[in-house]
């Protein structure tokens, strides 16, 4: 396993903290949308997961997002930011991380462009987080569950697009291992 250098570790720590805090910051705005749609959430987590996806894309190391998810769950448990999930929130933090790692690794192998990979990973991780929350807490069914998942996918994809832009801006200032072969300005696919 490749080691993380100090600068990367600082960056990962920053992404962990931003991921946790951004959830709180964005929730008033997100609640406006979810209240109007009469669903219990699904937007704030997508924005929070964006930081894990960016970190995973820039460090290009398998297990990075899962590790960050585990760290986030530890911080959340320590400061009591566990919401309705209680101690099971560990699953809610780690599962999306595993999904991000799996997708980023697979898309890297398949030569998918960075932008597409980030959008896909963010959207899928958001659905994973929503389904985990639904399984543990909400127990939604039918149309409500469909809308809840759709909102998660949409917000995840939009946050992924934003994340791809941020990752492109950050790439020059961060050390990158295993950079995608064709992830230029617009992120083209491998021939």
């Amino acid at each position: 396993m490749k080691k993380y250098d100090l600068r990367t570790l600082f960056f990962l720590t920053l992404c962990c903290d931003l991921g946790l805090l951004s959830k709180r910051l964005i929730s008033p705005a997100a609640n406006l949308i979810t209240d109007a749609l009469h669903i219990p959430g699904g937007i704030g987590t997508s924005f929070s997961l964006m930081f894990l996806v960016i970190a995973s894309a820039l460090t290009a190391q398998l297990g990075c997002a899962a590790l960050m998810g585990a760290v986030q769950s530890g911080i959340a448990l320590a400061i009591g930011m566990v919401g309705s999930m209680g101690a099971l929130s560990v699953i809610g933090y780690v599962m999306p991380g595993i999904v991000i790692d799996g997708l980023m690794w697979q898309t890297r192998r398949l030569g998918v462009s960075e932008e597409s990979a980030i959008v896909l990973a963010n959207a899928t991780a958001s659905v994973c987080a929503s389904m985990t929350a639904n399984w543990i807490v909400f127990r939604l069914t039918g149309v409500i569950l469909l809308l809840y998942v759709c909102v998660s996918v949409t917000s995840g994809a939009l946050c992924g697009m934003l994340g791809a832009k941020i990752a492109r801006r950050l790439r020059p200032v961060l050390p990158v291992r295993g950079e995608r072969k064709n992830c230029g300005e617009q992120g083209g696919a491998r021939e």
Binding site: L37, G80, G86, S113, L146
Partner: protein, 149 residues
Amino acid sequence: MKKIRWTTMAVVGVLLITGIAAGLRLAAHTETQAGTLRIYQGKTCKEVVLASFAEEPISGTLRNGKGEEQQIEGTGVLLSSLLRDAGVTAYDAVTVTADDAYSAVVYAEEIDAGDRVYLMPQDDGIRLLVFGDSNSKRSVTDVVSITVS
């Protein structure tokens, strides 16, 4: 360039599907007047006004997941009284659902305990209070329906 189009098209696609799902949800959603509850039992639905039930003084402490305590003082309706007065006599569990579909299940022994489960009218809607929980996640706000099972 092709990949950008693919990504953008995919996002537009999920936005459209979300729009359709939102339309279905809003069409199926029943607007409830403030202070009103719908009680579902089997295939029947009864709408009741909370203010029409006898209110009792409430005094107790709720504890959240962080261990923080919140002192509750006010008046509200015992869930057992509400169910009895609404003609619901047999129940094993009751699912209390908020306007955003968040729900909590309260069991018969908790409801029948006497002074444990209340519905309290507040400015932002009706609130379910379950005293004695180690984590107040069953403190549902903006309650709109009760499903008896």
